[in-house]
Symmetry: C2
Subunit: 247 residues, 2 copies
């Protein structure tokens, strides 16, 4: 399955390379490239920190220049907090990954550049990208580290690939089950003299039906309520006014 | 401005509390509560790691139980990777923060529970939430740490508060400027004998106009092209066939 390539440009700390690998793999991404890492490569500290995501490092390509690393990419995005004198579209991670998905679906290969820990990407790197990606952080406080930047981009990639978001379905009770539960409430409450005065009974019953329908009850919830109703009236030693089976 | 409260339940490492504070502040969130942190509080390691986000720790409320910590919350969400025997809606971070925004806009107070580093939230904690939030990670690899979970939730909160996403506008050239640039191309290329054979000239000219319109050129790009055209024909010592001002 095609996926974007995450390109770490001149990363300094091996720990951060390992952390970036783990961040990627959380969201199923495993193609990494490195341009001029500061320290030796392979880097034992990167391996230690990648725990479980080591194969990303094993397969990571090592390149001497950004131009080499992006050579086979049809779309290149540069993550940077600052745009310095370059005219380039600035995208949010959301927009960037929507574009990346579209480009990938169309058969393209997307490369995403991440700069070194402190300095960030140089203008020479950014100039090779078609667009800039900037995480919209608090203007007064920016402290995202390399692995966190990678994490947010990987998360957005995954988010755009998910099926249209729909809350996971619970085992919801059917309307008939809710209706029968309402009947049970009315019956037990009626026996207990709850609907008083009689003139207000219809409104009170309607309010209960309305509430039960609004609660999004599951089948298990319904069973719990049935059991509670039975138990409550039994404890009060009220005469069994229902033919509900006792369990 | 109302915002959700991030509640760290039984956090173990002070470093992670500090990291969570920094992650929050990146996205403008600064309300943290702590339930039974393992170590002393205030925690010097938390303060050291929070660098720049220390005021979040200074203002963090300390609570003995989850019930106390969520006491004034109208909506409670529990972040957990595993749902263990509890019937509860499971939301993505996106869905959860859309709900949190809606609840906050309606005057509610949202609390979001984060479990301890390894064990995660207990069922007793989760049972107090109205819904579960699960980051949809790679089923075969989950390694999000506490600060990363906090980061993703804070990011989603911020994302849902942003104005509808529109790529930042560049200083795009007007159609007239593009038209004049096309004229300049045709003139210089015509002088250079580019449009040959003559029968193909109309198609060639159309292709150039089409390309120039598609490129989303800025005003600066247009000026660069004008300058290039002038310079290229000057270098070839072609007779000046244009009244374009030389610069």
């Amino acid at each position: 399955m095609p996926e974007p390539v995450f390109i770490l440009v001149r990363p300094q700390m091996g720990e951060n390379i390992g952390g970036a690998a783990r961040a990627m793999l959380n969201f199923g991404l495993d193609r990494m490239r490195l341009v001029e890492p500061r320290d030796e490569w392979p880097n034992p500290r990167a391996v230690a920190l990648a725990s479980g995501a080591g194969r990303i490092l094993d397969n990571a390509g090592l390149f001497e220049t950004v131009a080499d690393a992006i050579g086979d990419c049809t779309h290149v995005l540069a993550t940077t907090a600052r745009v310095r004198g370059l005219t380039k579209p600035v995208l949010t991670p959301e927009q960037a990954m929507a574009e990346a998905r579209a480009a990938t679906d169309a058969g393209g290969r997307v490369g995403i550049l991440f700069g070194p820990e402190r300095a960030g990407l140089e203008n020479e790197d950014v100039a090779r990208a078609s667009a800039i990606v900037t995480v919209p952080v608090n203007p007064g406080f920016f402290s995202l580290n390399l692995a966190q930047c990678v994490l947010l981009m990987a998360y957005e990639w995954q988010r755009h690939g998910m099926a249209p978001a729909a809350p996971a379905e619970l085992d919801r009770a059917t309307a008939t089950e809710i209706e029968k539960l309402g009947d049970h409430f009315e019956e037990r409450l009626g026996t207990a003299g709850f609907f008083f005065p009689e003139a207000r009974a219809p409104g009170m019953k309607l309010a209960i039906r309305n509430m039960l329908s609004r609660l999004a009850l599951t089948r298990a919830d319904v069973q719990i309520f049935h059991g509670m109703l039975r138990q409550l009236t039994r404890q009060k030693a009220a005469p069994a006014a229902s033919d509900e089976p006792e369990t």
